[in-house]
């Protein structure tokens, strides 16, 4: 598009005192130019016509504020995603459209009002949901920084998934020894309160001021106050009922059951073991994801069986071996050196497990690399199944008002750059609650959430969203539609029977304003008047 022409057009709009072209408005140089222009031309509204407010609006707002203009007197016209990118083949029309978008933004900017962001105090304590290795690590890191931490574990003992694990790769340390140390450190820290056999019954409030209702066993529920919440609720193993003969023979077990047998020393020396990877994982539909830890778990347990019983033949039937990272390829080589056999199978031709009438097992597999059908008689089939979300994950997600992804795991604010934050402020996620991962990866994330949660708690005071809704009490009939629809629980009916918004909880989504039959709700910064002015400008019905 012809940007200089758009600039020239902008200059003609009424109330526009100054317009300029800038190649990289978001660069420090571009921002400096905005500040200079505000000062030089004594501007009281700023419109940037560029890309998406999603990534850049905070930056431009902060720039306005630095130059003494309330940041809500800033408006952004998206002429990239909504114009140049989608009309790249029609540059002339795109230029015209860009002018219209700018005209709309200016129309709104005229009516903008300064807004204030409420300040809130932050309770310097955290709630950690889940007492597995992730939760324990995060709790200890925060406690060592001087913050109070409540660890809530639904089971009777701390430990989570690792309680069932025998050895940990890559160091081959006993999982129980690792857990014992972590639990001891947490239990002996005076900043940490541990609540086992305890479930979360409800969560109210917002960053800095959460009221969490917890219930221990059958005791009376009580409320604890925290400033931040860390979701470290873990995952559970998928049970492959009806798959690969699971349930037909005691000799067909899951990888987690094998862990238990190895841990308790119950594994009798088998002659031949067949492990099948990706059981119920990486499906074309449904559970499409890779569970990340199963390949290494199979390798680890194979090596342990070989240690116990060097004569046992072990076959690992895999689709793609996930021996990523700096150490795990080496494990693959070590396993091959120990005589463990790897057979690649294709998704379309999965292995078949047969239990013969005399109780023997046989696995038929198509070797995808050799294009050969093979039959392996054996006396133990181990099914590697994925980690999945808990039954109660959904309830937890609803109570906290944070989303789950299509894979069932908790869904972070941004896959790339906000991997352990939720979109809701003050709530964070780590460990297998986020997605399958091993101990080292869970620990790294646990330290990560400890850092993220420490930020508001160290600051003690925060500024929150200014774009919130407000109710005109004289118009409200108390129908309660907004109360039901508000996704953040920010609206209640007060003693007068009219809707009342808790501003610091409101995220400004606008659902209430759009659904109010009496038009009693106004969105700050998105008033009817402002939106109508924008629409009229789009239609060319207001003078430029």
């Amino acid at each position: 598009m012809d940007v200089p022409e758009v600039v020239k057009y902008a200059e003609t709009l009424s109330n526009v005192a100054y317009a300029e072209r800038n190649l990289y408005t978001c660069s420090s140089e571009g921002l400096r130019k905005i500040k200079d222009a505000i000062e030089k031309h004594n501007l009281n509204r700023v419109v940037v016509a560029s890309c998406t407010p999603r990534t850049h609006e905070p930056l431009f707002r902060a720039t306005c504020e630095e130059a003494g203009v309330n940041k809500y007197l800033f408006e952004m016209a998206n002429i990239r995603e909504q114009c140049s990118w989608v009309h790249s083949h029609e540059p002339e029309k795109a230029t015209e459209k860009a002018k219209e978008i700018v005209r709309m933004a200016v129309a709104k900017a005229r009516l903008l009002q300064p807004q204030e962001e409420p300040e809130i105090d932050v309770t310097p304590s955290a709630l950690v949901i889940g007492g597995g290795i992730s939760g324990l690590t995060a709790a200890l890191c925060l406690a060592n920084q001087g913050f109070k931490v409540h660890v809530v574990e639904k089971e009777r003992e701390l430990g989570g998934l690792l309680k069932k694990v025998h050895k940990l790769y890559p160091s081959m340390e006993d999982a129980s020894a690792v857990l014992k140390r972590a639990i001891k450190a947490v239990e002996s820290n005076k900043n940490i309160k541990i609540l086992t056999s305890t479930v979360i019954k409800g969560v109210k409030g917002f960053i800095g001021n959460f009221d969490v209702i917890v219930q221990k066993g059958k005791q009376k529920p009580r409320t604890i106050q925290v400033g931040t919440i860390i979701v470290a609720s873990g995952a559970t193993s998928f049970e492959p009922i009806g798959m690969f003969g699971y349930g037909e023979s005691k000799k067909i077990i899951t990888q987690s059951q094998l862990e238990e047998f190895l841990k308790t020393g119950k594994l009798k020396k088998p002659k031949r073991v067949v492990m099948i990877q990706c059981v119920g994982a990486r499906r074309p539909t449904g559970r499409t994801y890779c569970s990340r830890v199963c390949c290494m778990t199979a390798l680890k347990n194979s090596m342990l069986i070989k240690e116990l019983s060097p004569d046992t033949d072990i076959y690992i039937l895999y689709r793609e071996l996930q021996t990523y990272g700096k150490e795990y390829e080496e494990w693959h080589r070590m396993a091959q050196d120990k005589g463990i056999k790897f057979i690649k199978y294709a998704l379309e031709r999965p292995p078949e497990v047969t239990v013969t009438p005399d109780g023997k097992l046989s696995v038929k597999v198509h070797h995808a690399l050799l294009d050969e059908e093979m039959t392996i008689e054996n006396d133990l089939v181990v099914l590697s199944t994925p980690l999945i979300q808990h039954e109660d994950g959904k309830a937890l997600s609803q109570m906290l008002k944070v989303p789950l992804g299509s894979d069932g795991f908790f869904f972070e604010a941004h896959v790339k750059l906000r991997p352990i934050d939720f979109a809701t402020d003050g709530i964070y996620v780590c460990g297998t609650a986020h997605s399958p991962k091993d101990v080292a990866e869970s620990i790294a994330q646990a330290y990560g959430v400890a850092s993220r949660a420490a930020i508001p708690m160290a600051l003690k005071r925060l500024r929150t969203e200014a774009i919130t809704s407000s109710v005109d009490e004289s118009l409200c009939t108390g129908c309660g539609t907004c109360v039901k629809l508000c996704p953040y629980g920010a609206i209640e009916k007060d003693e007068k029977g009219v809707a009342k918004v808790t501003a610091v909880v409101c995220k400004g989504c606008g659902v209430c304003a759009a659904s109010c039959p009496e038009r009693a709700i106004t969105m700050r910064h998105f008033t009817n008047e402002q939106i109508i002015a924008q629409a009229l400008a789009a239609l060319g019905r207001v003078p430029a």
Partner: protein, 440 residues
């Protein structure tokens, strides 16, 4: 013991920036030392990011600006660590600020100097596919947006000094040695690329249309040397067929690195999807060993690449590339293990995905810091399982690829983790210090 609230972060890529922002946001003072003239790191060179296909610069630039603008972050670009002494809670760090020969207070980033500079040198940011001047900014969104004279290539013609309207050119600028006092150190120096020339069978350097993935990434990028047009470097023609080869130098004991670089399967898939997006007529093949789909959303992304975008995956490790001298087409020779036959594929461009390797400078830096490296040259974790973020020295932590292969979200999470550990170790060190004083 004097209490310091400061942390040193080494490396201004996405991991270093995240660590700095976390610490600065909670009120700590951060010194972010970056060797090159701008923060941004590798992520700045990427076109899009997998599996969401976010424009890399679009999500990175705001972070760069946040880092640059943060009142608690002192940005020391074009600087290097010279000396470190002390221990957790109280490190003394000497930093060498190299001369830019441009006064950052005066430079407006207008670029007139570069327009007039007569010296053209290969542009490292574009993987040497394009050129830059001897006075330059690495890329348009650089932070700080301050020009730098590259001393090695400058002719000393002093033309820049004559044309600079701001009077920012300062030929007499001297190196500066700064001394910092910090309580903890976060190392986030990133990665380098395996030299694919060592794999002579693939003909990189000999055949112009054999490229490495990061070169190709720059070519795909709208801000890159070809403006986002994918062309054969030999003749500028639009390619009809492109092949990717995975694991060049990785997962190989002979003449390479034994480990899996962890990001290549996914970024190759991303680059392949982008080719199909740009030009649906161009066929794309990815030669792979094992598809590494272990991360969140990876398998779905591969499925989409295959089903929606028609990217073809071939399980084979090609043995050789030859060139048809008449057509300039590359012939990729590979063994089809299922048919037990040698086959070939003719492609216009072959993209090699090199092993991602530790920075060669790690050795020098590790010596200065007194920390250990692992057998590959990555920074060694105190315990690979239980203390992945700790180095072998208390108070010094690691984040991102310099610790071992990982992708962007893992680097970001780990960077926050390093911040958490840094704050924790300083809090504990302070408590100990107070106790010691009390006993006296």
């Amino acid at each position: 013991m004097k209490k310091t609230n400061s942390v040193l972060v080494i490396g201004g890529g996405i991991a270093g920036m995240q660590a700095s922002l976390d610490l600065a946001s909670r009120g700590m003072r951060v010194y972010l030392v970056e060797k090159t003239p701008s923060i941004g790191g590798r992520m700045a060179q990427l076109d899009k990011t997998f599996p969401t296909m976010d424009c890399s610069m679009c999500i990175l630039a705001p972070k760069m600006v946040d880092t640059f603008r943060h009142p608690n972050i002192t940005l020391l670009t074009y600087s290097e660590i010279m000396e470190v002494s002390g221990s957790v809670g109280n490190f003394t760090v000497k930093v060498l600020k190299k001369p830019r020969f441009v006064n950052p207070e005066k430079c407006t980033g207008c670029g007139i100097c570069a327009q007039h500079c007569p010296v053209e040198v290969p542009n490292e940011f574009d993987m040497n596919l394009g050129v830059r001047k001897a006075i330059y900014v690495p890329f348009p969104q650089a932070a700080p947006l301050v020009y730098t004279i590259d001393e090695d290539n400058c002719l000393k013609c002093e033309l820049c000094g004559k044309v600079c309207l701001a009077g920012a050119i300062d030929y007499d600028q001297k190196p500066e040695l700064l001394t910092l006092n910090v309580g903890a150190i976060v190392v986030a120096t990133g990665y380098d690329l395996f030299d694919v020339r060592k794999r002579t069978e693939y003909g990189y350097g000999k055949y112009p249309n054999v490229m490495i993935s990061l070169e190709f990434e720059r070519m795909e990028s709208a801000s890159g040397p070809t403006g986002g047009h994918i062309v054969r470097l030999s003749d500028g023609r639009v390619p009809e067929k492109i092949a990717f080869i995975q694991c060049v130098g990785s997962r190989s004991i002979k003449g390479g690195l034994p480990y899996c670089s962890s990001a290549c399967c996914m970024y190759a898939t991303k680059e392949a999807v982008l080719i199909r997006e740009h030009n649906p007529k161009c066929e794309v093949y990815i030669f792979y060993n094992d598809l590494k789909v272990f991360g969140k959303g990876f398998q779905d992304f591969i499925n989409r690449a295959e089903d929606t975008w028609g990217v073809k995956y071939v399980r084979a490790l090609p043995g050789e590339i030859t060139e048809d001298s008449k057509t300039g087409k590359l012939i990729v020779w590979y063994e089809d293990t299922t048919e037990n036959a040698i086959k070939n594929l003719k492609a216009d461009i072959v993209v090699l995905c090199p092993a991602l390797i530790p920075k060669p400078d790690n050795k020098k830096l590790a010596k200065i810091l007194g920390v250990e490296l692992d057998q590959h040259g990555f920074f060694k974790s105190k315990d690979p399982m239980l203390a992945p973020i700790d180095t072998t020295v208390p108070g010094i932590f690691i984040a991102g690829y310099c610790q071992g292969p990982k992708d962007i979200p893992e680097s970001v999470a780990q960077a926050s983790g390093a911040s958490g550990r840094a704050a924790e170790s300083m809090a504990l060190a302070t408590v100990k210090g107070v106790r010691r004083t009390a006993r006296k």
